[in-house]
Amino acid sequence: MQTVRITVNGTQYEEAVPPRMLLVDFLRERLALTGTHVGCTYEGVCGACTVHLDGEAVKSCMLLAVQADGHAVTTVEGLSSNGDLSVLQQSFREHHGLQCGFCTPGILMNMTDFLARHPEPSDDDIRHGLIGNLCRCTGYVHIVKAVREAAKTLAGGAG
């Protein structure tokens, strides 16, 4: 066991974990933050477990919890504030950017990081940015639209 101090969604947690514990399992099983999903069998292909590590999108099945010691993690639970959805979340709601919703947490986390770095993306940019997130329902059309509209809203200073 190794003691880690990881700040998750602004709260610091101190936990003793075995070194082999994956970050995604730490979030889901230790902290009960089950918004971070496991869509594949931890092969790193589906992107549903995407979280932010110090503000950058990473797959939490591709990291050990001990590697996040001393770092800040944001999960989908940390996107809204005081019950208000983020601009991107609101846009997914308005533009039907999900069907079953299983992939949505990972997509929201990836695209939140993406929009911070690419404030005026083309549809091609958005699609390229989404490669690491599998959605088996939507065909991505509404997802791309939701991201595009969120970018416009953010650029307009609203939200």
């Binding site: 790193g44 999108a57 990473v58 590697q67 990836n110």
Partner: protein, 291 residues
Amino acid sequence: MFPAQIEEYVRPTTVAEALAVNARYDEGDALFIAGGQSLMQALKSRMARPRCLIDLQAIDALKGIEYSDGVRIGAMTRYVDIAADERLRGRNAALRDAAAHVGDRQVRNRGTIGGSCCWNYLASCTPAVVLGLGGRMHLVAADGTRRVVPATEFLIGPLETARRADELLEAVSFAGATDRGGSAYRKWGLVKDALPVVGVCVCVELDAAGRCSAASIALSGLAAGAQLAPAGAALLVGSSGDATTLARAMDAVAAAVEAQSDKWASTAYRQQLIRTLGADVAATAFARATA
């Protein structure tokens, strides 16, 4: 799918400290972890079962790109940082081509040039580009001994390198920008940015008259691992990069290569990919050399 028991996880802040921990273990019992985008897969599938993991994330000396006479890229420099560095141009532009299309954004936020070279997976872009650009691998041993190994000697074959068990890769270096150097890399995979079924890197140097004075071609995705294609490269030398010459050179590459047939592509299809991608990549390399 999760890793077997790991006894110890350490996060040193210096190279010396990392090598000292490594030296406490028998060969193979301690593994360095860089970005982990390959190694974590091996740990989870239990292909690798180390007793100790030495995480290199906190060693700042291994990060960043330095420009002096040449270009030195720290082993822990991530794809996202390589892809974004506009100073990598001309003869080193292929590094950005490759880094910008490894996996996906999440992978590029973690994966490193050093990790990819030391893992030397056959279906990966970085080793082929490092080979094609004449990269040099900077290694340091536990006793402080440093040596520089050309990529041609370092990259032995799939999952095999010349790095000794007591050594750490510190950096990969390349010749600096020249007036008339150009390179490019492109791959073909089953979906965009997927692992290369075939990838081609071309690097050329032109003389004052615009004729090619030196050329190299490297391939990714082949069963024998990243490899140079010298016969094809020789045909580029002396030319000005006209379409006929490029096609002839890539025909020669495709004819000389041992391309495997597997569930992703047949031998003939791989050869066709080499011809098609290769001519396009070579044209881009020539264009960049004259830009």
